[in-house]
């Protein structure tokens, strides 16, 4: 028996998306093979990393995160600048957690004002995230989208209950959307269908299939991503060919283990890195992360995997 490399034939391809303007713009997705497998298809863009900041001081963030940034976190534009200059991610993710009714319940105008400040502070592309409160996100997203008009940002997260508002906001201001579904491949597809049927271009949708942290359901996210990529690449299902975003930082730093700071490197850093790596192995195209050291580990690994 002699060995021949067993290759898969892919009939589909993930859509390649462009975010941001000018020389800092970033391309995401575009692959025509499973992760790492460049011997049988193209991976034109390495997985992208966005680093997360919040509109209000994040009281609830774990200590190792707070100590990385210190007081900078109290000034959103300073924080945004710091991230761009020091961590150098592909994108910045601004989470408007202060708009949540259980938090500061900030208004659409206040939120839009924060978006404007961040837009003015950075050159890299921006991801604008609400607080995942369906009604409140619906209320604020149009104004926030306007505050970044023309910047080719990404706004999220559109859910089944509010996708129309997101689609309208994104269309009127030239942004893309992150569509969030509940850890279920059929629901993910359903939302993409609803969005495109409402007239929103498929070329501007990112999928968030809901990320769960390592040890807390990571395997569900992992398998949902793998199944989506199989449908997208092998069955050429055009409603599954949107790049996948994994919102890792928020999940990874929430778990009990990440509060352990008795080790040399805080456990949360590794929790975030390895959760991220798990999703990249399944087929994630973009990560939203928090800790610079975790970002660093992922970046080094990705460089070794993809850059010859």
């Amino acid at each position: 028996m002699s060995f021949t490399i067993p290759k898969e034939i892919y009939s589909g391809k993930i859509k390649e998306m462009s975010v941001g303007n000018g020389d800092k713009s970033v391309k995401v997705g575009g692959e025509s093979t499973f992760p790492f497998l460049t011997f049988e298809g193209e991976i034109p863009n390495i997985p992208r990393i966005a680093v997360e900041i919040t509109d209000v001081y994040p009281e609830d963030w774990a200590d190792p995160l707070k100590s990385v940034y210190g007081d900078i976190m109290k000034d959103v534009s300073g924080w945004a600048k710091y991230v761009e200059e020091k961590i150098k991610p592909d994108m910045l993710a601004l989470r408007l957690i202060g708009t949540h009714p259980d938090r500061q319940n900030r208004s659409a105008i206040e939120a839009a004002d924060t978006v404007k400040k961040v837009v003015d502070a950075i050159n890299i592309p921006l991801i604008i995230l609400g607080s995942n409160h369906v009604e409140k996100d619906t209320e604020i997203i149009q104004k926030c989208a306007e505050a970044a008009k023309g910047k080719s940002a990404i706004i999220g997260k559109a859910q089944e209950a509010n996708y129309k508002t997101f689609a309208a906001a994104a269309t009127s201001c030239g942004h893309s959307i992150i569509a969030l579904s509940d850890l279920d491949i059929n629901l993910a597809k359903q939302l993409n269908i609803l969005l495109t049927q409402s007239g929103f271009p498929a070329e501007k949708i990112f999928m968030d299939t809901m990320s769960s942290a390592l040890g807390y359901g990571m395997e569900y996210t992992f398998s949902v991503i793998e199944r989506i990529k199989i449908a997208a690449l092998m069955q050429n299902d055009t409603m599954m060919q949107m790049p996948i975003v994994n919102d890792v930082g928020i999940e990874a730093w929430k778990v009990k283990e990440s509060k352990d700071t008795t080790t040399e490197v805080p456990m949360g850093v590794m929790w975030e890195a390895i959760t991220s790596m798990s999703f990249l192995s399944a087929g994630g195209d973009m990560l939203i992360m928090r800790h610079p050291e975790a970002v660093n580990i992922i970046r080094k690994t990705v460089n070794k995997l993809y850059i010859k």
């Binding site: 028996m1 002699s2 060995f3 490399i5 067993p6 499973f34 790492f36 497998l37 460049t38 011997f39 259980d102 769960s212 390592l214 040890g215 807390y216 359901g217 990571m218 395997e219 569900y220 992992f222 398998s223 793998e226 199944r227 199989i230 929430k254 778990v255 009990k256 283990e257 352990d260 080790t263 040399e264 490197v265 805080p266 456990m267 850093v269 590794m270 929790w271 890195a273 390895i274 959760t275 790596m277 798990s278 192995s281 399944a282 050291e293 580990i297 992922i298 080094k300 690994t301 070794k304 995997l305 993809y306 010859k308």
Partner: protein
């Protein structure tokens, strides 16, 4: 590859003699295909039939055992490319590298750390599974002494690595009964190495000096030709990107093409690609966990590296048809007492972990009653008719919670608010309170609740 009943039938005597206790050879063939009978039951089966059907019934990736008795670690026997198709079966083993050039004190310290490090998670006791001893010095005495030191200090399956056969023999003289995995046979030494492994009853890593999977498969064919099959592959990939690609190619060749020469578990060395960076090494190991490594050798096994890797392995290797579960009981969170709130949830480990985590984060000491609904989430269990007023009533009555708290207030998940009427009518002393739908609302809920 599995054969169909018709394919198997071709190899049977076709006399319908009935000695196998089946009326016809075809009926027997069907049972064989369904793995409900054994070819041994047909006394007239030819040797050819035994060989062909025997090979066909072998798993596409051979099961390999390292160690013996309580210190036995099994790898291989995987059957799928993607975990959702069936399940990843034998969890990859994490192996700690110890070099004989290290000082005795340092080796003792590593051993004592490994002994101390047992981590409990979802009912499993996790530890670094295997110890890898490398004859880095090339010196026989140093190697043997290190093996002695490790054996005296810790009970774990071993891997012995030396490029010098005499050194390996000397080390095996003191530990062959523990059935260590031997590293490694290559083009130059495979005959003596295979003879040694055969003699000692150990498994053997095979690696090609020439490199590449073609050369590796030529080599394993030569070795299996010598009548030895207990092989572990080291693809010795030149870069991280070729490693992950070759891991996939090996798995695919074995499973999808039934390519026997690569139908063995694979050992990887994360440190070969990490430039001495221990965090990068850990992350590379993580790729190994999800992408088909069976043994992962690491230079650093600190807590912050192993605990996430243990969690990842648990996730990747859970049976997707059988969710991870926690025990049905009352969990005490914080210094809960007779006035503390009582919450109820299901025993799906994910649900339990999320809810318990949020209750803990609220810093409000509480009792969490966990119902056995066969590992389903709250909504799924409700939809499946397993999380019902009857079930909850029975649990409240039988769990002992009524003697643990003075009050009679039970907090149920917001998604199953509809259950409250039903529970209250069955548990008239109890007042049912509907909690938030999402666990993220629990912190606020409990803070206000306690106040």
């Amino acid at each position: 590859m599995a054969l169909s009943g018709i394919q198997i039938f071709k190899y049977l005597p076709k006399t319908n003699c009935g000695k196998c206790k089946f009326p016809t050879c075809l009926a027997f063939a069907m049972k064989l295909a369904a793995k409900q009978a054994s070819l041994d039951d047909c006394p007239d089966a030819s040797n050819e039939a035994k060989e062909i059907l025997g090979a066909a019934s072998e798993p596409p990736i051979r099961l390999i055992k390292i160690g013996t008795g309580e210190d036995l670690y099994k790898v291989g026997e995987e059957a799928v490319m993607f975990r959702h198709e069936k399940t990843f079966y034998n969890p990859c083993g994490f192996s700690r590298m110890i070099k004989d050039t290290d000082s005795t004190d340092n080796i003792k310290l590593i051993i004592s750390n490994l002994n101390d490090f047992v981590y409990e998670r979802v009912g499993q006791h996790l530890k670094v599974d295997i110890i890898y001893i490398k004859n880095e010095s090339g010196d026989k005495d140093k190697f043997v002494n290190t093996v002695k030191l490790v054996q005296a200090g810790i009970k774990r399956p071993l891997i012995l690595d030396s490029s010098n056969i005499d050194n390996l023999k000397a080390a095996l003289d003191i530990c062959a009964d523990k059935k260590p995995l031997i590293y490694a046979a290559n083009e130059d030494n495979y005959e003596t190495m295979t003879a040694l492994a055969k003699e000692k009853g150990c498994s053997l890593v095979v690696t090609s000096i020439q490199g590449g999977l073609e050369a590796l498969s030529v080599l394993t064919e030569k070795i299996t030709g010598l009548g030895f099959k207990d092989i572990v592959l080291d693809p010795a990939s030149k870069s991280l990107s070729s490693l992950v690609q070759e891991l996939t190619q090996i798995r695919r060749a074995a499973i999808k093409k039934s390519f026997k020469p690569l139908g063995f578990p694979v050992i990887i060395f994360s440190g070969r690609y990490s430039d001495g960076d221990r965090l990068l090494e850990a992350n590379i190991s993580a790729i190994g966990v999800s992408k088909y490594a069976s043994i992962i050798v690491m230079n650093d096994t600190s807590r912050e590296i192993m605990i996430p890797l243990f969690a990842m392995r648990q996730n990747i290797y859970t049976d997707p048809q059988k969710p991870m579960q926690v025990e049905e009981k009352i969990y005490k969170i914080g210094e809960a007492n007779e006035d503390s709130p009582v919450l109820i949830t299901t025993n799906f480990s994910l649900t339990y972990f999320i809810v318990a985590g949020e209750v803990e984060n609220s810093k409000v000491p509480s009792w969490l009653v966990v119902a056995n609904v066969e590992g389903l989430s709250v909504l799924t269990a409700w939809a499946a008719g397993k999380f019902t007023p009857e079930k909850i009533t029975k649990l409240v009555k039988e769990s002992g919670i009524e003697s643990m708290v003075k009050h009679r207030k039970l907090i149920i998940p917001g998604y199953v608010a509809v259950l409250s009427g039903g529970i209250e009518s069955k548990l008239p002393d109890w007042k049912i309170q509907v909690g938030p739908r999402e666990a993220s609302g629990i912190i606020n809920f409990l803070k206000n609740y306690a106040a």
